[in-house]
């Protein structure tokens, strides 16, 4: 049972990571910096609960704000470049963050224990959940409450004018400018929201794993972050959720019985999926078909 609860926790946190990339991808920007924002969230939240003895929720809130602020600050210069240049700029930023934590030591003495981040060894003993008597189930429920809130928020944004403007920028930046959209403001805002969500995700991640270290936040994690929304499709937030379940639940855990053949299948299935469904698993066509299935009358009168 605990195994499945653990899996559910992983899927929840990775969904948050994917959603942070989703915001940025909507504006047509491929950012590999999300792992960096995730790392900032993880370390900030961990430091606040362990070293400053804060309760969890305010610690997560501060972690999200710090990540969002960093994303905003990085977004201004970084979003001047596009395409491959942006990919590389964000890889550079993400790696710089990871390497910063690789070299970052700030410890305090607590009885016999040394607490706090310790360079390459990482940050151990983030024991907020066990200390406060949270069971694995409690943690899983908490994670999914946060996921549900974030998804609801993004769903709402998606259906407001903001969603349409983000997509317009993603589709054609020149046309967007020529209808009066300030594309820099839009892109930086999307980056900031993405950083904010990644910060929440990272903060939760730090607490359920209890031990974080720089190697967890590398290019691979950044790639996973963009993989969820791309694989799931950008037509709505559920694509990202679906892809997180598919990758973490099916490809990584579900295929465990295949031994080390599983990893081979993992890369292969991603390649296959992109060949078969280039716009993602849950693309606009599928979404429409599903909606027609569940609300046939409304769709017909609209068309």
């Amino acid at each position: 049972m605990d195994f499945y609860l653990g899996l559910i926790q992983i899927i929840g946190v990775h969904t948050l990571l994917g959603l942070s990339a989703y915001c940025v991808l909507l504006t047509g920007q491929v950012s590999l910096a999300q792992a960096g924002f995730f790392a900032i969230g993880a370390y900030v939240a961990g430091i606040l609960t362990v070293l400053a003895q804060w309760p969890l929720i305010p610690a997560l809130a501060v972690a999200a704000v710090v990540s969002g602020a960093v994303a905003c600050a990085v977004g201004f210069p970084a979003l001047r470049v596009k395409g491959l240049m942006l990919v590389v700029a964000t890889v550079a930023f993400g790696e710089a963050v990871r390497l910063f934590f690789f070299n970052f030591t700030y410890q305090i003495q607590a009885g016999v224990l040394h607490l706090g981040p310790h360079g390459a060894e990482g940050f151990r003993q983030i024991r907020y959940f066990p200390q406060h008597g949270w069971s694995t189930l409690d943690v899983a429920l908490f994670i999914w409450t946060v996921v549900a809130l974030v998804m609801a928020g993004l769903w709402w944004l998606d259906h407001s004018r903001i969603g349409a403007v983000l997509r317009a920028v993603g589709e054609d930046e020149l046309a967007a400018q020529s209808v009066g959209i300030n594309i820099t403001a839009v892109k930086v805002s999307a980056m900031t929201v993405g950083g904010f969500i990644a910060g929440i995700g990272g903060g939760i991640f730090a607490h359920y794993t209890t031990h974080i270290e720089h190697a967890q936040f590398g290019v691979v994690l950044a790639t996973f972050a963009i993989a969820y929304p791309i694989l799931g499709g950008l037509s709505n937030v559920f694509g990202t959720l679906l892809a997180a379940v598919f990758i973490q639940g099916f490809l990584i855990e579900g295929l465990r019985f295949m031994g080390d053949w599983r990893n081979l299948l993992f890369g292969g299935l991603i390649v296959l999926a992109m060949n078969v469904r280039p716009r993602g698993l849950l693309d606009a066509g599928t979404t429409r078909a599903l909606r027609r299935l569940f609300a046939p009358r409304k769709e017909r009168s609209g068309a």
């Binding site: 491959l84 240049m85 590389v88 700029a89 890889v91 390497l99 791309i230 992109m274």
Partner: protein, 296 residues
């Protein structure tokens, strides 16, 4: 800092510049693919390492001198390059850049895992050439294996430049990279040019992979991610689409890497490289040879 330290520092930078030829080749590969397809092939460095592994496989079957490992790696690189195009690009609509980006990520993971699966994740030693030779230039000693790697890299670059600027194939490649539709109307098959570009960059990558193996003395699937990042860095510092830029940038990155390592230690080395790169990208996105800051 006394004289001995200075000599050590220069020595270390010189080693880095020599090894930088590997980065140059990878940068050229990324640049060429981007030039022709306007797509990023993130599986490129992994494929290069894969080709070096394939050459080890060949060497284990056939008894041959170590030089042949490089030939085998080049051939394997070409084959893998063609396969990467077929699987990751051929059938995915070009209008959807995210899909090809993701498919190359999938290929990167796939190639890495094939290597892990075939070798049980254990690093394999790679034949180094001239590793016992050290040329003394004044107080500096140049390692024979690194000099060989550097020389081989230079030969590859010259051949590649000749191919691009002196043959019909090169002309077609450059035409496609500048005006794909017009080239199509002139009777150039873009698909064929695309395939050939992947095969050629694959050959170059295979040699770069073998050079990496020879310079370090071993191969490991853990090399592919850092090499991907370094290759991308070289591509953008050199300026997208610029082959001379990629060559110079490769050597600079190689030298800087060792310089930072010498002065700040191995754990902080890449941090400075990344910060430098970020600043470079943001304030000079056109690369080292750009006329202005490239902002439009």
């Amino acid at each position: 800092m006394d004289l001995l330290d200075l000599i050590d520092a220069v020595q270390s930078v010189a080693d880095g510049v020599l090894f930088g030829a590997t980065y140059s080749l990878l940068g050229i590969g990324f640049t060429l693919i981007f030039g022709v397809m306007h797509k990023i092939n993130l599986s490129y460095a992994a494929a290069s390492i894969g080709a070096a592994y394939a050459s080890l496989l060949v060497m284990s079957v056939v008894q041959a001198p170590a030089v042949l490992a490089f030939v085998a790696a080049a051939a394997a690189g070409g084959v893998i390059g063609g396969l990467v195009y077929l699987v990751g690009f051929r059938f995915i609509p070009l209008a959807n850049p995210l899909a090809t980006l993701m498919s190359t990520v999938g290929l990167l993971l796939l190639i890495d895992e094939i290597i892990v699966h075939a070798t049980d994740g254990v690093p394999l030693s790679y034949p180094a050439l001239f590793s016992d030779v050290i040329v003394q230039v004044g107080p500096f000693g140049l390692r024979g294996d690194l000099m060989f790697v550097f020389a081989l890299g230079c030969v590859c670059m010259v051949l590649l430049l000749l191919l691009l600027y002196r043959t019909r194939l090169g002309l077609a490649t450059r035409a496609v990279s500048q005006q794909p539709t017009a080239s199509l109307l002139c009777g150039i098959s873009t698909t064929r040019v695309n395939v050939l570009t992947f095969v050629i960059t694959g050959v170059v990558g295979g040699i770069a992979g073998a050079m990496t193996g020879a310079a370090i003395g071993m191969l490991s699937p853990l090399l592919s991610l850092p090499l991907t990042v370094k290759g991308l860095i070289v591509t953008v510092i050199g300026g997208l689409g610029s082959i001379p830029g990629a060559i110079i940038a490769g050597l600079i990155v190689g030298g800087l890497e060792n310089a930072f390592q010498f002065f700040r230690g191995v754990s902080e080395r890449d941090l400075y490289i990344m910060l430098l790169l970020f600043a470079f990208l943001v304030f000079r996105p056109g690369g080292i040879f750009a006329k202005s800051s490239g902002r439009d």
